[in-house]
Amino acid sequence: MLDVADLVTAYGKIEALKGVSLRVESGRITCLLGPNGAGKTTLMMTIAGILQPRRGTVRLDGQELTGLTPARIVAQGVALVPENRLVFPQMSVHENLLAGAYQRRGRGEIASDVERMYARFPRLQERRAQLAGTLSGGEQQMLAVARALMSRPRVLLMDEPSLGLAPLVVAEIFRIVGELNRDGTTIFLVEQNAHMALQVAHHFYLMEQGRVTFSGTPGELAEDEVVQRAYLGARRAAG
Amino acid sequence: MDDYLVGVLSNIGVVSFVALSAYLLLLTGAISFGQQAFFAIGAYAAGVATALWGWPLAAALALGAAVSAAAAAAVGLPTLRLHGLYFAVATLAFAEMVRLLFELARYQVEIDGELVGPNGADGFRGIRYIFEHDLGPLQFLALIYGLLAAVLIGFMLMERSRLGVALRMVGEDEVLASLNGIAVARLKILAAGLAGALAGLGGGLYAHLTTYVEPRMFDVMLGVHSLAYGLIGGLGTAFGPLVGVLIDIGLLESIRPLAGYRMIVFGGLVALLLIARPRGLLDEAAVHWLQRAWRPRRRP
């Protein structure tokens, strides 16, 4: 469904992506694992159109996304839940959700989608009039996910949804990820928390230093091996 | 040398002091719109010292620099916790306060049948030291550039010293600098004082060069220009602001045939330059490249 081919993105002379190719299958959860600085966030930002690649293509169902503005890419059906959530802090929860539907027309449909989000995330309904900047980290993450869903994406990209959240909240987020997928949403997830990611993923990629170094299903490689390959074990021991 | 050329070169030299003053603050991350205030204070103080009190020039220039340094340090204190635009506008407000106070200030003494001294908005005429002591335009030019050279050498020594590193660190990130054991507040006051002294020294020279100053010479225009010089010339080295002044005044002189269109051409050129090089001609990367290109040749 989402095809990334030979993508190269650079900051000045430094290439953060050195020719990345991968594929996200429709209706599944695809996971991208890798250590800090591997280029995972750069890849997400490039797919979303915030960063322009130097080379390579991104296609959605065969349709070229490369070179489109971020707004056009959202309209094509790709929504990104960014790292660190990035909610609109001075806007209410409700307004954040409306902003998520910015590309869509039709007030009635948007309003019923908002209600559906409230049904899925009851915490957001409780806080609908509150400024998003005052929410807790977990609530902001839910808001960011709901906001992205408001654009009715064909693919939902999530960049490190567990970052900086307490274990219970992380479990809740992953429960929602699984639920969304069962309801038919295609998900492409970037994670450092390999343990949680491998529990929900149908397929995963390993990325190291700007390159994809492994691709397979969670059973194919021992979890220890994955964790080690992603240098996560070393990181945990140090941290 | 033609007198007019000497005049233009003198102007370039003197304005370089304010540009360097703004540049020094930029190194610490502070955008000042107000360095013209210290230029003004230095000009008035040094002018009063020679014209009214009969001090020698060296002492008068030192007084101008000292008074400006003290004023700058005093403003540095309440504005310590301001950053970015807030600091820029606070310094602007201070500089306008100084200018308006000079519009009110009167301190005149009768000398040879003429009232001499600051006279509010009408300015301060008759700072005649160079005539009374027969200092020719060329000699004064040498004095300006001698002092400028000394200041530049000072900058070069400073940039290699611990102080220079500390200043750039504060400019990059204050919190990080303080975590690395740098006394940020003290360093910022020191930088403000040094920048004030530089501008004050330039002001003293300016007053004696033109023999006449008036408050509106020191309005926002001069302040924003001084800041712009560093950015046009480049933030990578103390020569950057000088290049900026040279481009501004020098280029304006050389495209004089365009007369009425000068600022249109010049304004457009600066805008385009900043698109291509947002940190100026001699930015950090250019300086690095120049140093690498220069070094091997110097070594035998």
Partner: protein, 297 residues
């Protein structure tokens, strides 16, 4: 007491023009996080075009107003294209200096077209009326009404429309605004045009009540707008209104009680004190986070 109240009335009237200037300024700053020093000079260009229309085409006040606003918008878009659109994220100071260079350009262009120091500007309505012991000027009442209406209008636009939602999203977080599908570039240009139009209205009203225009108006408008905006709080619409009115009243009172020379001094003392004691302005919260880091402007 009568004097004090009359001063306050006069101050509110003048302050209305400051508020209008601050309104446009704060809109640009809020959306871009950048300082447009050419804000006043682009209004001045509009006013000069208005004067040209007045001199050569005998345009009346409404025609001149239309030309002034349109000219300010065009000049504003020119500034945006040259100084802000091409600048990378970290180049806030460069953008500001660039807008200063264009200020020089606009000023010289105005002087080339109309070289005298002052030119007549069509007055709007110079009638006066007594309200009890207080003297009111009609054109100033129009100014106050316009300031209130425009402030309310901008506020309604920001909080009641899709475009306003986009602007507030950009103000809140530009990256996230991109990610929800807002065309940030287009919204920014529109905000710039809107701000210039508000500035154009302010410029027209001020100059119509002065009945003359000078090239110095550019600097004057930038300074007054900047001071009022900073007193009220960067990026805040109620702040711009209150900052402008407060500045006007403080000026009027100090002019009356301290004399014209201390008037401007009082304004700068007020600004300096506000910045030192309440850096975020009266209506801003704490200074915006990314500003606190000195690097970005």
């Amino acid at each position: 007491m009568i004097d004090f109240l009359q001063n306050t009335i006069d101050g509110v009237m003048t302050g209305a023009s400051y508020a209008l200037l601050a309104l446009g300024f704060t809109l640009i700053f809020g959306v871009m996080r950048r300082l447009n020093l050419s804000y006043g000079p682009s209004i001045m260009v509009g006013a000069y075009l208005g004067t040209l229309a007045h001199l050569h085409l005998a345009a009346g006040p409404l025609g001149v107003a239309a030309v002034t606003v349109a000219g300010a918008v065009l000049a504003g878009l020119y500034v945006e294209r040259l100084c802000f659109a091409p600048m990378a994220a970290g180049a806030g100071i460069a953008a500001m200096v660039s807008s200063f260079a264009i200020w020089m350009q606009l000023e010289q262009a105005a002087i080339l077209v109309l070289p005298r120091h002052t030119y007549p500007f069509p007055p709007l309505a110079s009638a006066t009326a007594w309200l009890g012991p207080f003297l009111l000027r009609l054109d100033q009442l129009i100014m106050l009404a316009s300031a209130l209406v425009l402030a309310l209008g901008v506020q309604a636009l920001l909080y009641g429309t899709r475009f306003g939602l986009a602007l507030r999203a950009i103000i809140g977080n530009p990256t996230a605004a991109h990610l929800v599908g807002i065309d940030v570039r287009r919204a920014t240009v529109l905000a710039f045009a809107l701000a210039s139009a508000v500035g154009g209205v302010a410029g027209f009203l001020v100059l119509a009540s002065d009945a003359q225009v000078t090239p110095m108006f550019g600097m004057w408008a930038t300074m007054k707008g900047l001071i009022a905006m900073m007193i009220g709080g960067l990026g805040s619409i109620p702040g711009a209104l209150v900052g402008g009115l407060l500045l006007g009243v403080v000026e009027a009172q100090s002019q009356w009680y301290l004399g014209p020379q201390l008037r401007d001094l009082a304004a700068y003392v007020l600004l300096f004190a506000c910045l030192v004691w309440r850096p975020g302005g009266l209506f801003g919260a704490a200074p915006v986070r990314d500003l606190a880091r000195g690097r970005s402007l």
